[in-house]
């Protein structure tokens, strides 16, 4: 098992380096000079040059061939990319160009908001998706099956930004039951321990804060949960249907075991593998793909933040945020791989 884990780590590493490379390249290729973006159109040439020097933007992208021709080996490797990698190894993501605060600090504040939102969505998706899939599979080709499968397909086809808008329209504008955006109402304060407001308010016994937090997170979480819910329900159904055809299910039934026992003890356990995979994949996508939901509900998470940074040419934020998302995504996939090998020994020995 340890050998397998080690192998997986080795195979993730080149991907990770490739990811830093792409992230670095992309942000430098986007048109627009960050020095001008910082100082405005009317800045003098000298001040622009000074800022470029400060940010290291005057260095070549990858390697400095002129320094090498002059015999300066250290200068040869002193490039924007190498400096970026050196800073990364110290966990320094640089400062935001516009706001001049370290990216890492804002990340620490914003990332928990995204984690909280996606975790809650994932919980909703799993709690509804898996039972729907099981019921569909066990009542194959009945009306219940058709309805829940068309329902989950509608979930998969849902433009979540539209669903979010419709939710706001109904619950915030027309009925005025729930607030339309943000994480907490103004005036409500919750002591931050984990930075996940739901958990913090529970730990500190702040019921008023908890209710307020729930009322804020409900709409975005439901909107974000629709697509994974549909995907999980469909996956559970098809995986259950595959397993229900197996011989051991027939044997269990022939032994006279009750339908429910066979369904949960024998079928569900064996059908869990692909479902676990898809949940892992969806968790990674959710964490990352909350851009639209966060935009609509003005949720102070990283998706919205990166989107603004792309439009504002704030390179360090884009690089730091995207890198974090890619790492989380790769990390989740890695965990799913390990879990898979734990659950199915055949994979380890391949």
């Amino acid at each position: 098992m340890i050998r397998y884990i080690f192998q997986r780590i080795l195979s993730v590493l080149p991907t990770l380096i490739g990811v830093t490379f792409v992230i670095f390249m992309f942000q430098r290729l986007i048109p627009g000079d960050p020095a001008i973006a910082m100082l405005g159109e009317h800045a003098t040439d000298e001040s622009i040059e000074r800022i470029r020097e400060q940010l290291g933007l005057n260095r070549p992208l990858f390697l400095d061939r002129e320094a090498l021709v002059d015999g300066d080996l250290q200068g040869f490797f002193d490039s924007q990319y190498m400096r970026y990698m050196a800073r990364l190894s110290r966990l320094d993501l640089g400062d935001s160009i516009h706001r001049r605060i370290p990216v890492m600090e804002t990340l620490k504040l914003r990332f928990p908001a995204t984690v909280e939102l996606s975790l809650l969505s994932m919980i909703i998706a799993v709690i509804i998706g898996i039972p729907v899939g099981i019921v569909s599979a066990s009542r194959r080709n009945t009306a219940i099956d058709s309805i829940s499968m068309v329902g989950s397909l509608i979930g998969v086809s849902m433009p979540i930004f539209w669903l979010g808008i419709m939710e706001i329209m109904l619950f915030a504008v027309i009925l005025q039951w729930l607030p339309a955006g943000a994480r907490l109402s103004t005036g409500i304060e919750i002591e931050s321990i984990t930075n996940l407001v739901l958990i913090d308010s529970l730990i500190t016994g702040n019921m008023e804060g908890f209710v307020d937090a729930i009322s804020h997170i409900a709409m975005p979480a439901v909107a974000l949960a629709t697509i994974p819910m549909g995907i999980i329900a469909r996956m559970t159904r098809s995986s259950m249907l595959d397993v229900l055809q197996e011989d051991y299910i027939r044997t269990a039934k022939a032994k006279g075991l009750g339908g429910r026992l066979v369904l949960f003890r024998h079928a569900l356990k064996n059908a869990a593998l692909p479902v676990v995979t898809i949940i892992g994949l969806q968790a990674g996508t959710l964490l990352a793909g909350a851009v639209l939901t966060e935009t609509i509900f003005s949720w102070p998470g990283i998706g919205r933040w990166i989107y603004d940074a792309i439009l504002g040419r704030d390179y360090p934020i884009v690089q730091g945020g995207t890198l974090l998302i890619a790492i989380v995504f790769l990390g989740v996939n890695f965990l799913v791989d390990i879990l898979y090998a734990l659950l199915d020994p055949r994979i380890r020995y391949k």
Partner: protein
Amino acid sequence: MVKITPEEITVTDFAVREHRSLWGDAWKRLLSSNTARLGMFIVVLFVSSATFSHYFWKYEPKKDLDYSLKLKAPIFIPTEEIPSVHPFGTDKLGRDIFRRVVHGGWNSLRVGIVAVGISLFFGGTIGLLSGFYETVTMTTTERLVLFGTAGFLMGSLSAWIADQYFQLILYAGLGLAAGYYQDLFKGKFLRMVTFGILGALFSAVPGLFISPTVAVICGLWGLLSGVLLSRPLDGKFFSNVMMRLMDIVLSFPGYLLAIAIVAFLGPGLGKGMIAIGVVGIPIYARLTRSVVLAIIHKEYILAAQSVGESHGRIIFRHITPNILSPIIVQTTMGLASAILSAAALGFLGLGAIPPEPEWGAMLGESYRYLTSGAWWAVMFPGLAIMLSVLGFNLLGDGLRDALDPKLRT
């Protein structure tokens, strides 16, 4: 007692059963499914209304403006106040939303089709070649192409450092030599040493004319390249490199990557198509590779190989037709997700440029005056997105069931 006359009995001759082709069978099965029929109906409805309106129902978005009809709720019977029919209501500029939704379909569907076309073409090619050469041994010519390209690519770094572009030819030549003399010192350490030294010399000697440090760095790079080229590179190597590249693209969340690409290219419908298309490439590459790997050991491929058919012919005549069904299913589903992504880009203001009608962009505009209570302005464009995506998904689901050979009796 019931009497049966011989005329009433129809005899089925089992021996001369009517000929049924794979596709004919699949078509019949597709038609027999309720959900697939619903999907097909939705798809045909959207495609034909968009195409028809584009050619026969002229609409000029730049001139469409009428403040007297601003934000009217859906109206079916003309009144004195509002003399025209607006089944979906009007938006903030007094434009008929029904008209814009129908015309917007042309843009949204077009983005979907072109984007999927891009992903399918590049992803399919990469997947097909990776899957094929991962198992089938390369011919000499193919190996030479692989080695030559590898040498050329590695040489580009050294050539750039030394600013001597003839080094590209030297490196490519080294690659070709390594590919051609595969048996030279085969499996021995000497092979690595020979090509390593050759590479170092090819790079360091020209580098000396620039400066000693350049010579050292280029020499080291040449040594590394030579050692790599001395290895028995094959299709597996190519496939590994390609799949790692796809992994890198896949490790970025789709939306974010598309947004970044559009930010790089600038907003617009065409740029959106490219962005969504690029993001989709790895999905098709992985799928194609896996289906190729699933059929490559089949007897008919072996037979084609043993009668000496060329690799190109095997790929086009034997492999491509046999991997079509999963690809068709994925393409249909891919159209759904491409339309969804296009709408998302439009919603974020990165797709179609206003006043061009596009579903996502329409939602993005009406989202700003949400508090005015004009539910129809956000309801109908979104409903159009959802229905068209649902249509393609239903059709894709139906196609998967129809094309699944396990169900064939």
